[in-house]
């Protein structure tokens, strides 16, 4: 699947690039401390008393000055790291340029709702899920919400983690410096399917992103000349799925689960759990509780032909 592994020792974004030296520096200092302490412990273990009876190992001076040296060095290093950390945090708290795009991202058990905002053109606002497209090389503002419990938003290649807290909006920004697909993951334990709460950030060149955005804004209004298989599927979808899922332009307008208006444009289903391909999709709809036990999507009481009609209809939502 896209963007694996969750690699936090390389960076593809402005913000992650600023944090990376700190990560590596602190890790190096920690390793040095471990080595020094381990060496001293080993020296203490193997150092023997002289033959001929017990007497003090240390002659002459008291060893107290080592305590002062050790504490002094530690405090100096910690203060240095503190200043370094604060300088790094200050450098990434705001983007240099005004964000090109604002998103509302809401953590749900166990998927991500993504709303593209547009202050000047409300007709450009739309919802999608689990796949976040952004233009490359531009800062993006993201307002983080939570619908139920605390989640945490993390795209290691682009930015650090930020919690999503019910009743509070945490605003972050991120920027991808290179086109690509970057895997993200919920990193605050949020219940049974926490591990299956993934997403992908897809950074595209301006033109490609704009084409995607324009396509996403469109609804899926029923057409007169739709084949009957698709019309049947739409009807079955409205009856069995529409209470939770939206397909814009149709009677299906539920807001419990992901907006499926353009579900076929996404590369994964079930929040990054399965590839979006016919076999996986059919299996997911038929038995979501086997794939993500505890997920809010139930095993539907639906006949075989109706279920087939629903999958046929969904395959047209590109």
């Amino acid at each position: 699947m896209n963007g694996f592994p969750l690699n936090y020792v390389t960076s593809e974004g402005t913000k992650a690039a600023a944090i990376l030296p700190l990560t590596k520096g602190v890790t190096a200092i920690s390793l040095a401390v471990i080595l020094i302490v381990a060496a001293l412990i080993l020296a203490a273990i193997f150092r023997r008393r002289a033959v001929g009876g017990p007497h003090d190992l240390v002659q002459g001076t008291t060893p107290l000055h080592w305590i002062y040296i050790g504490t002094g060095v530690t405090v100096a290093i910690l203060l240095g790291v503190l200043v370094w950390t604060m300088a790094t945090v200050a450098a990434v708290v705001q983007p240099k340029d005004e964000p090109a795009l604002s998103l509302d991202i809401t953590g749900h058990q166990w998927w991500w709702e993504v709303r593209y905002l547009d202050q000047d053109h409300p007709s450009n606002i739309f919802n999608t899920a689990n796949e976040i497209h952004i233009p490359v090389g531009k800062p993006i503002r993201i307002n983080l919400h939570a619908a139920d419990v605390i989640h945490s938003f993390w795209v290691p290649a682009l930015s650090g983690k930020t919690d999503m807290i019910p009743g509070q909006v945490n605003t972050i920004w991120l920027q991808a410096d290179r086109p690509g697909a970057y895997r993200g993951q919920c990193t605050e334990y949020c219940g049974k399917q926490h591990a299956h709460m993934g997403f992908t950030v897809i950074a595209d060149e301006d033109q490609k992103f704009e084409a995607w955005r324009v396509a996403q804004v469109q609804g899926k209004t029923p057409q007169e000349d739709d084949p009957s298989a698709i019309a049947d599927g739409r009807q079955a979808f409205k009856t069995h799925c529409g209470a939770c899922h939206t397909v814009r332009g149709t009677a299906a307008g539920g807001i419990v689960g992901p907006d499926l208006t353009h579900v076929m444009s996404r590369s994964t289903i079930a929040a990054g759990t399965l590839p979006n391909a016919p076999g996986w999709f059919a299996g997911w709809i038929a038995d979501p509780q086997h794939i993500k036990p505890g997920a809010k999507m139930p095993v539907l009481d639906i006949s075989g032909p109706e279920l087939h009609a629903v999958t046929t209809y969904l395959a047209t939502l590109n």
């Binding site: 391909a277 016919p278 999709f281 299996g283 075989g304 032909p305």
Partner: protein
């Protein structure tokens, strides 16, 4: 020192063999390719299929003994040609059943059918 080395070697051997299970049952390369195809097509979301990692679906029948079944989908005699046809065109065999027509190459379908026929 030799003892330490042989202990490490033993551990390494044990670890290396922890992943050997599938290698034992893999058999010839056709079977391995069939398993890989089923794995990437998502057959395991609906079916339990021996040899395919994670294929423990309960939506459709388990394929553990499909090689000894007399009929496929309750309608076709079970032979490699029919099984291959069913795998690639389930909707033309039983229209409206929930198994989708998954796009796949004829070669893949033939490999999958041949592998499934060995599950007796």
């Amino acid at each position: 020192m030799t003892r330490v080395f042989s202990a490490i070697a033993a551990c390494g051997f044990a670890l290396a063999c922890a992943g050997c299970d599938s290698a034992h049952t893999a058999g010839p390369s056709d079977a391995r390719e069939a398993m890989a195809a089923m794995s990437s097509l998502g057959c395991g979301t609906c079916h339990t299929i021996p040899g395919v990692t994670g294929a423990d679906g309960k939506v459709g029948p388990s394929l553990e003994h499909i090689g000894s079944q007399i009929y496929i989908a309750g309608i076709l005699r079970n032979n490699p040609e029919n099984l291959q046809y069913w795998i690639s065109h389930p909707q033309s065999v039983v229209p409206g059943n929930i198994m989708p027509d998954i796009p796949m190459s004829d070669a893949s379908a033939a490999q999958i059918a041949a592998y499934l026929e060995t599950l007796r």
